[in-house]
């Protein structure tokens, strides 16, 4: 399978290189949907220029990248385009390898459950075959590399690509079963943008499953492993943060990076939900609402962990989607990451109820973003409500997409164990509803 992957990589690199050389590159770099105050390339260049002038880049409110990014780009700033293309390629390759391994795991588990007669007799059509699973890794890599969102994110040189890459490596390490590497990459991802903290739960569940440790609250080995993994994770995080201190010999980066992510002072419009609310809110309530909004990201982890404890990779997908919808400064690069996972669940297609309307909503909104931005900022005939309406619609589309997949996944699991033809007590055909 290496040859098609190489072809896909080459095609993706060509597309990106062509776009870098065209006029669109400047246009895309300035788009607020692609570049947020956290990961805009202009701010990286500004921060490095400030450093050359002898001023700390964190002294103003311009630069919100972590010191490791400063270190990376200090030496690679002339090759920035190459760096971002390589980052995208690495992400795709990591996802490819991860999903390949994951497919093997799924197939083995399926085989085990069939042999143990855990499945109902009439569900033969629901079982995944190796034939249809063969091309899934390639499709995942394809979906990531040739997604217009990823291409735009790469052309804009947004450091979201680096974040995606670290998360992809974390997924690869988790699926391969190496707790140490997974903890290290998760620490790196959390260090860069705070939200991957929530991915701790699915990773833990996956590793526990791999080690055949039952997830019971009373089990001693469960707590032992959890403590091990948590301590690995926390130690790596502490080590990375202390190492970053030594780059500039100051702790300035903590309020600039994490304080900025959590307190959301910059209200530039983006595709997220925060900016409009906080632009019109009174100072009195802003702390309360910041807490509410931020809790929203972390809140779904425990319920999802309880419901999806048998299916940690799906849990990871849902969690990634929740992060990219509810984080404080989302960009289309974050959306692209979880969309790359959709081919894995292409077998759920028959259970998805609203997929047509949702894909239409997402595509239309993507096209309407620049239109309404132009109308608002340049033509002056619209106002921020119009742009926020599109933001809201886009996010509603994403939420419905995720919940549709969630419903379809659970429905398939239910059918697998209870059979395809469900009957109610009085014999008529029953329908599953997500409550």
């Amino acid at each position: 399978m290496a040859a098609p992957l190489v072809l896909v990589v080459l095609a993706a690199v060509t597309v990106r290189a062509a776009l870098y050389r065209s006029n669109l590159a400047v246009f895309i770099t300035e788009r607020v949907e692609v570049a947020s105050p956290l990961n805009s390339w202009k701010r990286v260049v500004e921060g490095l220029a400030l450093l050359d002038l002898g001023v700390s880049p964190y002294s103003g409110t311009i630069f919100h990248e972590t010191p490791l990014i400063i270190y990376l780009f200090h030496f690679l700033i002339e090759y920035a385009e190459l760096v971002f293309m390589i980052t995208d390629v690495l992400t795709a390759v990591a996802l490819y390898l991860a999903i390949q391994d994951f497919n093997r795991v799924v197939f083995k588990k399926q085989k085990l459950l069939i042999e143990l007669d855990k499945y109902a007799p009439d569900v033969a059509e629901l079982i995944q075959t190796p034939m249809e699973m063969h091309y899934i890794p390639l499709k995942v890599a394809l979906f990531y590399l040739l997604n217009p969102y990823t291409v735009m994110s790469c052309v804009a040189k947004s450091t979201c690509a680096i974040n995606n890459s670290v998360i992809a490596f974390f997924i690869l390490a988790t699926i391969k079963g190496s707790a140490f590497l997974s903890a290290v990459f998760l620490a790196l991802a959390t260090y860069q943008s705070l939200y991957p903290l929530t991915l701790f739960a699915p990773a833990l569940l996956y590793l526990l499953q791999r080690q055949f440790i039952p997830i019971k609250l009373k089990s001693k080995s469960f707590w032992l492993y959890t403590m091990q993994y948590a301590s690995l994770y926390l130690c790596s995080l502490v080590v990375i943060i202390c190492l970053s201190f030594f780059l500039l010999n100051s702790w300035d980066f903590i309020p600039s990076v994490y304080g900025f992510i959590l307190s959301v002072p910059d209200l530039t419009p983006n595709i997220g939900l925060f900016w409009y609310f906080f632009a019109e809110m009174f100072e009195h309530f802003s702390l309360f609402f910041i807490c509410v909004f931020q809790i929203n990201v972390f809140f779904y982890t425990i319920p999802l962990a309880i419901k999806l404890k048998e299916h940690p990779v799906f849990f990871m997908f849902v969690q990634l989607a929740i992060i990219s919808i509810f984080k404080s400064y989302p960009t289309v690069g974050d959306v692209a990451l979880y969309m790359a996972f959709l081919p894995i669940w292409s077998h759920l297609y028959r259970f998805l109820r609203n997929i047509f309307i949702l894909s239409c909503v997402l595509i239309f909104c993507s096209f309407l973003f620049p239109v309404l931005w132009h109308l608002w900022i340049y033509a002056g005939s619209a106002n921020s409500n119009f742009y926020y309406a599109i933001t809201l619609t886009f996010n509603i589309g994403q939420i419905l997409l995720v919940s549709d997949y969630f419903y379809a996944f659970l429905r398939r699991e239910y059918y697998l164990t209870h059979g395809l033809h469900l009957t109610r007590q009085d014999g008529t055909e029953a329908m599953l509803v997500l409550k």
């Binding site: 400063i70 270190y71 140490f180 590497l181 290290v184 190492l243 030594f246 780059l247």
Partner: protein, 381 residues
């Protein structure tokens, strides 16, 4: 036994040579004061570089010690307060606004339309109406070393003033002869940065004149770098490299004229700079840059006390008989050299500290070996 007198003789000769050297050094140049006449002859905004040229030479001679009272600065147009200047009150010589040669204490003696051929020749020859203020006069005497720097647009044998008149090389040579006859200079250094500049010094016939030009007859002098923020070329190449050369000079420098002749070779300047030394009596090797560009006094400092009152003969000196055999202190060495040279701010590049890099790579290697095991090390070595 014959070796000893030979040795003594050698020592004596060395000592004598040392003394003679010192004496020669003391009497190397016969001047006692320095003057500078700096002329920019072109007006209009696009001739920014000529004003910047003149101001950078002005800055250098002031930095090396010639006071404003001994400098006659003639600028044909005002660039710093020109309405087209996007950075008012500044004249830059390096792009990216690295060096502002206008500074805070510029004294322009002849400005705007006062810069004419007639005024220039009157300044040189001293035939000035009695109402002219002191700052506009060249009050040199026969022990003055004068630096004359001219820049603008020129051609074969002439230099254009103000876009309306010209001074020819014959007129200039005659003016210098008048100066020599009236004993108005000891030695003269003439530098010109224009197209075909060498033609201007071809006709000199007075003694003790050394001349430098930025290009030969038939060649154009080219401008250096434009600044995209200001929109014009900031300096001419020859004067730019002369300025860079002069930034390294401080009042105690022993750099001589031969180094100045090497400034701006053809590879950097595109034109071939020329010089003329046949009218000069000393060897250019012995002529210090500070003889013309600076204002270095021949001063010797002693540490002995000198008693002025005969009655207080019994006053014991502060320093007892054990005289420390020190070198005689020179005036120029007392000056704060470090503050005088390298005044152009240098861009400092930031580098990540070594400890950070070491720590980061140690961590990466540790993670690598922890994951893949030590057995892989044998593949590395």
């Amino acid at each position: 036994a014959a070796v000893l007198p030979l040795l003594l003789g050698c020592c004596g000769a060395a000592l004598a040579a040392g003394l003679q050297d010192q004496a020669e050094q003391f009497f190397r140049s016969g001047h006692t004061n320095n003057w500078a006449v700096l002329v920019c002859t072109s007006r209009f905004w696009f001739n920014y570089r000529h004003v910047a040229n003149t101001l950078s030479v002005y800055r250098s001679v002031k930095r090396l010690g010639i006071p404003d009272s001994h400098i006659v600065l003639m600028l044909a147009d005002d660039m710093a307060c020109n309405p087209r200047n996007p950075k008012p009150a500044t004249v830059f010589s390096h792009k990216n606004m690295e060096l502002n040669v206008y500074g805070d204490d510029v004294e322009v003696d002849y400005r705007s339309y006062e810069v004419t051929v007639e005024n220039f020749l009157r300044v040189l020859t001293g035939r000035i109406p009695p109402s002219t203020p002191r700052s506009k006069r060249l009050l040199s005497d026969d022990r003055s070393n004068i630096l004359i720097y001219m820049t603008g647009h020129g051609g074969n044998g002439f230099l254009k003033f103000q876009d309306s008149e010209e001074i020819t090389n014959v007129e200039l040579a005659d003016a210098f002869e008048q100066m020599w006859q009236k004993r108005r200079y000891n030695e003269l250094l003439f530098i010109i940065d224009t197209c075909q500049g060498a033609s201007m010094y071809e006709r000199f016939y007075s003694p003790n004149i050394m001349a430098l030009a930025s290009s030969q007859v038939g060649e154009d002098s080219l401008s250096h770098q434009p600044d995209l923020g200001i929109g014009v070329h900031l300096m001419d190449r020859y004067t730019f490299y002369v300025l860079e050369f002069l930034e390294e000079i401080h009042p105690a420098s022993q750099t001589n004229m031969n180094d100045l002749f090497q400034v701006c070779p053809k590879s950097l300047c595109v034109s071939t700079p020329g010089h003329r030394t046949d009218l000069f009596q000393r060897d250019p090797q012995n002529v210090l840059i500070t003889d013309f560009f600076g204002s270095v006094r021949k001063v010797e400092i002693t540490t002995e006390t000198v008693s002025l009152d005969r009655d207080v003969a019994g006053f014991e000196s502060k320093f007892p008989e054990e005289e420390l055999a020190t070198e005689p202190l020179k005036y120029a060495e007392q000056l704060p050299v470090a503050q005088i040279i390298h005044q152009k701010p240098k861009q400092k590049d930031w580098h990540p500290p070594g400890g950070f890099i070491l720590g980061l790579w140690a961590l990466i290697i540790m993670v690598f070996f922890k994951t893949y095991g030590i057995k892989h090390m044998k593949h590395v070595f």
